[in-house]
């Protein structure tokens, strides 16, 4: 294998050294997915090299794990099978185009959010950011349905089109890209192939180029922080400001956990805040901003919440995290060393129920109350009161006993959430596939058959789907 890969990419860009391979064997999800080293790492520099590698792997039925910039927190790039090739795509790091007129960017897998923001901000545009650090791959996050609304106004679907090399070496292009040089529309002809492929366990092929939406950076902005004593108290306020499309960003969260990252500091007395805080950013062009701002102020005054006086530097951090490149969200690792989360989509109406269920299941699994937190991000436009909800547990990752408890939490919580009704899982986490497949009837069979067509030799790290 090594010799064949060397012929494709050159000696400099392939290694089977056990120590170097070992460094790819874990991410921070080690309590849930066991460490496993790939057999070799290969770093292609071109699309043609990727195609040759896939053809070689497919012919020899060798599993392939695409890896973009290495910021993975759910073991999505940890090998499942022995003798896997890890396809490190970090050399493909070109921003192919920023189209100011069309408000789009086209990137390769190795482009990070930091790199892209640095360029887009020059034309007052920005991508939608996940809470992931600026070192994360733009392409992988968009392809994996990884943009979970640090900015509510951005909506949900940011991917316009992409090109993918399948295991058989065929190149497919999605959306308008399929038959034209214009890459700016998701639905070109026939079914939404991009939508079908997003968020599968493993992948269907290797995405080499992706076009995504960019959003305006406005001159006029104002942040507000509103404290609530309970999740229920906050619901009407959160509903109204999102239903009326008034806010650029909106996150309701507890005052212990993710707020540290949003405020960008450990050095603040978070205990003095109300138990739940709604962090809101209003933004817009002159005129519209002022109108929205007045309406938001009115909603705040009419709500049971308390307007909080937050220091300007912390407010600036919130603005940066939400629309200018999230950098400090990883401070959650500073709370206890590691964190576990289940990310789901669901309606705002169900949020108090999810929160209660989160606490109950954690308690049933023997997890202390002070490890258990959450946040909710509404997503515009607010049909179905769509929200991204994150159920978090902050813990010491070296504590094997706690790891066991959290695995038990997962076993209990996945079916409970399905019973409580959710819109969907954020990502194909370890453990969610089995209980969910049982409930989706023939769709599971159809899904498998589609994947069999694209990847008949099952080389794309599908995990538990099959």
């Amino acid at each position: 294998m090594f010799e064949n890969l060397k012929k494709i990419v050159g000696e400099q860009y392939v290694t089977d050294d056990p120590a170097i391979c070992y460094s790819y064997s874990r991410d921070q999800h080690w309590n849930f997915v066991p460490a496993k080293s790939p057999a070799c790492i290969v770093m292609p520099g071109t699309r043609d090299e990727i195609r040759e590698i896939l053809l070689f792997a497919d012919e020899n039925k060798i599993p392939v794990i695409p890896w973009s910039t290495g910021i993975n927190v759910r073991s999505l790039t940890i090998p499942v099978h022995d003798n896997s090739i890890l396809l490190d795509l970090s050399r493909l790091n070109r921003i192919i185009e920023i189209n100011e007129e069309m408000m789009t960017a086209t990137v390769e897998p190795g482009v990070t959010f930091g790199q892209l923001m640095e360029e887009t901000v020059k034309c007052n545009l920005r991508p939608s950011f996940p809470d992931a650090p600026l070192t994360a791959s733009v392409l992988a996050n968009n392809y994996l349905r990884g943009i979970y609304q640090t900015s509510s106004a951005d909506g949900h679907d940011h991917t316009l089109s992409f090109e993918m090399i399948l295991p058989n070496g065929e190149l497919i292009k999605t959306g308008s890209r399929a038959f034209s040089d214009m890459q700016h529309f998701r639905y070109g002809i026939g079914p939404d192939i991009a939508g079908m492929m997003a968020a599968s366990p493993g992948t269907w092929g290797v995405v080499t180029e992706l076009t995504l939406k960019l959003y305006r950076v406005y001159d006029f902005e104002q942040a507000y922080f509103v404290g609530f004593d309970s999740v229920e108290d906050a619901m009407p306020f959160i509903r109204d400001i999102n239903r009326d499309g008034l806010v650029e960003s909106c996150r309701l969260l507890d005052h212990h956990s993710y707020i540290t990252g949003l405020f960008g500091t450990f050095d603040y007395d978070y205990e003095k805040l109300p138990e739940f805080v709604a962090c809101i950013l209003v933004a817009g062009i002159d005129g519209i901003f002022q109108a929205k701002n007045e309406l938001v102020k009115k909603h705040i005054s009419e709500s049971p919440g308390k307007l909080l006086d937050i220091p300007a530097t912390l407010s600036t951090h919130f603005r940066e995290e939400t629309i200018a490149g999230s950098e400090k969200s990883c401070m959650v690792f500073g709370l206890r060393g590691n964190y576990h989360c289940i990310g789901i989509y669901g309606p705002l109406t169900h949020v108090p129920k999810y929160w209660e269920l989160h606490k109950k299941t954690a308690s049933d699994a023997g997890i202390p109350d002070d490890h258990v937190y959450f946040y909710v991000n509404p997503i515009a436009p607010f049909y179905g009161q769509l929200c991204y909800i994150e159920l978090d547990i902050f813990y010491d990752g070296s504590d094997a006993e706690m790891g066991k408890k959290i695995r038990e939490y997962n076993n209990l919580q996945f079916p409970r959430l399905l019973d409580a009704e959710i819109y969907g899982w954020f990502r194909p986490y370890a453990g969610i596939i089995e209980p969910t497949l049982d409930r989706i009837g023939y769709q599971a069979e159809l899904w498998k058959r589609f994947m069999e067509i694209a990847d008949p030799n099952q080389i794309m790290n599908r995990g538990k789907l099959f």
């Binding site: 290694t15 050294d17 056990p18 120590a19 170097i20 070992y22 460094s23 790819y24 064997s25 874990r26 991410d27 921070q28 790492i41 770093m43 910039t69 290495g70 910021i71 993975n72 927190v73 490190d88 970090s90 050399r91 990070t112 930091g114 790199q115 923001m117 640095e118 901000v121 992931a132 650090p133 600026l134 070192t135 450990f266 951090h317 940066e320 200018a324 490149g325 950098e327 400090k328 990883c330 401070m331 690792f333 500073g334 060393g337 590691n338 964190y339 010491d396 990752g397 070296s398």
Partner: protein
């Protein structure tokens, strides 16, 4: 450092890899700060990957290999990853120290670079890392309260720094001595995991310092200074870097302003490891027109020379220096540092850029 401490650091790494870039806001620039990761590219060469490899060593899951040696030793131990990480994770374990401890573990197993073994043998045989004939040119026989500890690199490779420091000491009116038979402080041995050999040097120097009667020691080499502070017992002697000494007597030195546009490169040992950032800048602001690069202070880009990299991976060392030279060229005509290792490595990659140690510019400012 105990294995438990190392494991705590390993288990606190969330693999966010923010340790590989400078703080983005408010400069709005995504700038790399991990030379090893940028040069070798594989995950193993960034701090999160290197920590994983250390886990494999601690758990006896990794055997010796060419790759293991490269991962362990092709790192300058610059500590940029730690400075960034502690902002994010509030972690207290210093990655530079952890990676140095990793080398100790490997050396105990006999897994080390030939180039580093060669240095150890040279130090053992000649008292200096370059196996140069012992130079007593600088020896001042007198016992004085202040001792100038020159260090191997300045003494045998960058004598302009020594000449400049002697001129500055003389201009300050400070009476000082220099050890004629000065021997290696042990820095390169400790940094490459050769702790036992380093301890031999410590004992030699303790005897020499005691015999000198010095009450304070001035260093032009931050590596020597850090080693005295970190690896030596408390000698009851004040330890100062040249830039600290000069700052203390800045007002009594007859300095003129030089018509020079300079920028300053923070040496890792001086800045990140000892926290000395302001003194060199205070001096340069007094005698030159100082223009800052984008990556400075805690988030400075390493010159590429430290941690035994220059001797074992010269291509990587020179590439790192070249990156710094390009960055310096964006803001100034002259690049200064305050470390003989930095000066030497940067000068090799200078591509026309003038490179000075801060003390050399102070000497020039005395002569105007």
């Amino acid at each position: 450092m105990q294995p438990e401490e190392m494991k705590e650091a390993i288990y606190r790494c969330g693999k966010c890899k923010l340790c590989s870039i400078a703080t983005y806001h408010p400069n709005e620039k995504s700038l790399p700060i991990c030379p090893s990761g940028e040069y070798y590219r594989y995950q193993a060469f960034f701090a999160p990957g290197r920590l994983e490899v250390l886990r494999g060593v601690l758990d006896d899951e990794i055997e010796n290999s060419e790759g293991l040696l490269k991962v362990a030793y092709a790192c300058t131990l610059c500590g940029a990853c730690y400075e960034k990480c502690r902002e994010i994770s509030s972690i207290e374990q210093n990655h530079a120290e952890i990676f140095e401890e990793m080398r100790n573990l490997l050396v105990e197993k006999g897994w080390m670079m030939d180039a580093h073994r060669d240095i150890m043998e040279k130090v053992s045989e000649t008292g200096n890392a370059y196996a140069a004939p012992v130079s007593e040119d600088y020896g001042h026989g007198k016992r004085e309260d202040t001792l100038y500890f020159i260090g191997c690199t300045s003494r045998y490779r960058e004598p302009e720094i020594v000449d400049a420091m002697i001129a500055v000491l003389e201009a300050s009116g400070e009476k000082f001595s220099i050890l004629g038979d000065e021997t290696c402080c042990g820095s390169v041995l400790f940094r490459t995991g050769q702790r036992e050999a380093g301890e031999v040097q410590v004992q030699k120097n303790i005897r020499a310092i005691k015999e000198s009667g010095a009450k304070r020691i001035v260093f032009t080499c931050p590596g020597c200074l850090m080693t005295f502070k970190k690896n030596y017992p408390d000698l009851g002697v004040e330890l100062l870097h040249s830039t600290e000494f000069i700052t203390q007597c800045l007002d009594r030195l007859p300095l003129k302003k030089l018509d020079m546009n300079v920028t300053y490169h923070d040496p890792c040992h001086l800045g990140r490891h000892l926290g000395i950032y302001n003194e060199p800048r205070e001096i340069l602001n007094r005698i030159t027109n100082l223009h800052e690069m984008k990556r400075i202070r805690e988030q400075s880009w390493c010159c590429g020379s430290g941690g035994g990299v220059k001797s074992a991976f010269d291509d990587f060392a020179l590439w790192s220096a070249g990156e710094r030279i390009r960055e310096a060229g964006d803001v100034a005509d002259i690049l200064t540092s305050a470390c003989p290792f930095c000066k030497r490595n940067l000068a090799e990659a200078a591509d026309g850029m003038e490179i000075y140690d801060v003390v050399e510019l102070v000497k020039l400012a005395l002569e105007v």
